[in-house]
């Protein structure tokens, strides 16, 4: 029957047995087999066409399409997530910049406040110091005036005593005072 090229053993016997049946013709040109072959081919091919077009191709195509959709969906999802993370990063950077600006503002404000306070304190301190200085100068002036008047008395006494010692005459107080005043002025 369906003897093929695999082995040659037994081929001869088969051929001789079948020889009479086929009349030794070339099988592909045996027109007596054509009708059978055409009928089976028609049935087989129509069956194949129906299987392929109705069941097989939708099935395989569906699997391929499902994969394509899955890949595209996953890519879209990944893109979405990437966009989200980029947006989050941007928001984070914005927040960071705002916080930095706020921190700087707070720093400036507190520095200015501290400066102002320090200035005010220094000013009051300076005023106090100035007041104390003025008072001290006043005290010094009055002390010096007292001292100077004391000096004049002492000088007049000393001058009277010196004149008495030198001349033996007690000078009158008025002339001594006038002389002391004149020398103090000079």
């Amino acid at each position: 029957m369906a003897e093929s090229h695999g082995g040659a053993t037994g081929t001869g016997a088969h051929t001789e047995a079948d020889g009479g049946h086929h009349g030794g013709g070339f099988p592909p040109f045996e027109s007596s087999t054509f009708a059978s072959q055409l009928v089976s081919l028609a049935i087989a091919f129509v069956a194949l066409y129906l299987i392929v077009s109705r069941l097989a191709l939708p099935r395989v195509g569906g699997a391929i399409e499902a994969r394509q959709n899955k890949i595209e969906g996953d890519l879209a999802e990944a893109q979405k997530l990437k966009d989200q993370s980029e947006a989050a990063l941007k928001a984070y950077e914005g927040e960071l910049a705002a916080a930095r600006a706020r921190a700087q503002a707070i720093g400036n404000e507190s520095r200015e406040k501290a400066n102002a306070q320090a200035d005010a304190e220094r000013k009051t301190l300076e005023q106090q110091l100035a007041a104390k200085l003025a008072e001290a100068e006043k005290t010094i002036a009055s002390t010096r005036a007292t001292a100077m008047s004391n000096v004049r008395g002492i000088a007049a006494d000393a001058a009277g005593t010196i004149v008495q010692q030198l001349t033996g005459v007690v000078p009158d107080a008025a002339s001594v005072n006038a002389a002391v005043d004149a020398s103090l002025k000079g």
Binding site: S4, G7, A35, A44, L48
Partner: protein, 249 residues
């Protein structure tokens, strides 16, 4: 020992189905292998998984799907996809029949001219009928190549008409002759090995190494031819259908 390389092509009735006119319709070994091919294709395509990451069988079915689909798209354009089931069926039927035929002791359905001629005529009439249905008389532009000078046009048209009607002949004979010749060559070389061994004993077995190596090499070649002829048949079908879809060169 006698080698009969033709014996493998015998069509033997297994049982008789009925009669049409004075033709006996029998279920033959050819019928059996046609249904075997259909069964293998159905099994391959219907039992392969639908996994996201395909396994081996699923890869085979998806690769054949993509292969035929891209073949149609590249030769007949997107409009050709309406013939996808037909071309896919033709390709798979011929490819599986050819491959099954390489297995020893099997029958090669496509080694019979009546089968290949029937398939080629199916394509021919599909092209003719669809071309006329889709384009009306504009389909006749397929015989008038553009850019041909007027004085030479009758000759070119005659050649075009002739080649158009000879298409089914070349289409069917190419497949048939390739399968027939390949199987005869295989049988001759394989039979030669056995003949040498049977007639010359040990010397013959040693001498049979060369024809055996050739038979192995030829089997590899036949595997290639089996796929290639299915591909050629399918792509010629696409090219012919392209004429029906887009007449005028």
């Amino acid at each position: 020992m006698k080698i009969d390389p033709i014996h493998q092509f015998n069509v033997e009735p297994l049982f008789t189905i009925g009669r049409i006119g004075d033709h006996t319709i029998a279920f033959t070994n050819a019928s059996l292998y046609m249904f075997v091919a259909v069964g293998i294709i159905a099994l391959l395509l219907l039992t392969s998984g639908k996994q996201l990451v395909p396994g081996r069988l699923q890869s085979v079915s998806e690769l054949s799907y993509e292969f035929v689909a891209s073949m149609i798209r590249s030769t007949a354009g997107a409009d050709g996809m309406r013939f996808f089931p037909l071309i896919f069926s033709l390709f798979m039927f011929i490819c599986v029949s050819n491959l099954v035929g390489i297995v020893p002791y099997t029958f090669t359905v496509t080694s019979h001219l009546i089968v290949t001629a029937a398939l080629a005529l199916l394509v021919f009439f599909t092209v003719l009928i669809y071309g006329l249905y889709k384009n009306g008389l504009k389909f006749l532009k397929v015989f008038v190549p553009s850019g041909v000078p007027g004085y030479i046009l009758p000759l070119v048209m005659a050649i075009e008409v002739l080649s158009f009607f000879l298409r089914p002949v070349s289409h069917s004979v190419r497949l048939f002759a390739n399968m027939l010749a390949g199987h005869i060559a295989l049988k001759v070389f394989a039979g030669f090995v056995a003949m040498l061994g049977a007639s010359l004993g040990v010397v013959g077995w040693i001498g049979g190494v060369m024809p055996l190596a050739l038979a192995v090499a030829l089997t590899a070649l036949e595997l290639l031819v089996a796929f290639l002829q299915a591909y050629v048949f399918a792509i010629l079908t696409c090219i012919y259908l392209n004429d029906a879809i887009h007449p005028g060169h």
